[in-house]
Symmetry: C2
Subunit: 112 residues, 2 copies
DNA sequence: CAAATATACATAAATAAGTTATGCATGTAA
DNA sequence: TTACATGCATAACTTATTTATGTATATTTG
């Protein structure tokens, strides 16, 4: 991903959340959506995206439907039930991560 | 580190920030301080910590002073001037990361 | 009309940052 | 005397990326 090393580990969270919001998306669409939402801050590379999608599918979190649109292939992904559950977990993990990092880095946020 | 994969990439930020706050710390002390501040949420493993400290030193961000306390060795690390500057950068990166992730994951936080 | 750019997928080699396991040494508590 | 805490270190392995390619079609641009 474009810039900071911090994004390492957050790609699957991003994918799951976008699919949670959009019901059905294909790979290229995901890269564009992320670029748009983040105003170019984050650019997902294909070398990261496609293996990640395949892994999520293999884990049973996503299911695929291949369509031909304008004579081009598109593989649409959507959340399985398990995927929807895992999305909740990943989002909780992200919030916990952010809280923990704030506590570490921002002394006035420290837990009581 | 203990739990989520999200912490990957944030160790150097944590180390630099703690040294920014404490002037001078040794490795074991850092692991304990992190455990304390995060209430056990985050446990830094030695296999991650020591290589990271060595790398930061090699990059000129930290300098070392070896002391013998209670007949045991301690390697105290402190920020160099460059290290202080890099701390600012890392903290900015962290804030930018958090903002970007919030925009992605929390639609009501999306940028205008 | 040719060339570049956008759309759409994919994979392989290399890199980075961790985990897990292990090793050494001293001191203290059970 | 055995376990646990303090204190450092490294090597082998794993995982998630980056970088570099490859294929193919569609559209824009000079």
């Amino acid at each position: 991903m474009g810039n900071a090393k911090l994004y390492k580990g957050s790609l699957s969270t991003i994918i799951l959340k976008l699919l949670n919001e959009h019901e059905k998306m294909y790979g290229y669409e995901i890269t564009q959506k992320v670029k748009e939402i983040t105003k170019g801050e984050l650019k997902i590379t294909e070398g990261a995206l496609y293996p990640s999608l395949h892994k999520l599918e293999a884990e049973g979190l996503l299911e695929v439907e291949v369509l031909k649109v304008d004579n081009r292939l598109r593989k649409y992904y959507k959340l399985t039930e398990q995927g929807t559950q895992e999305t909740v977990n990943k989002l909780e993990e992200l919030e916990r991560y952010i809280k923990t990092m704030r506590a570490l880095v921002n002394p006035e946020f420290r837990f009581d």
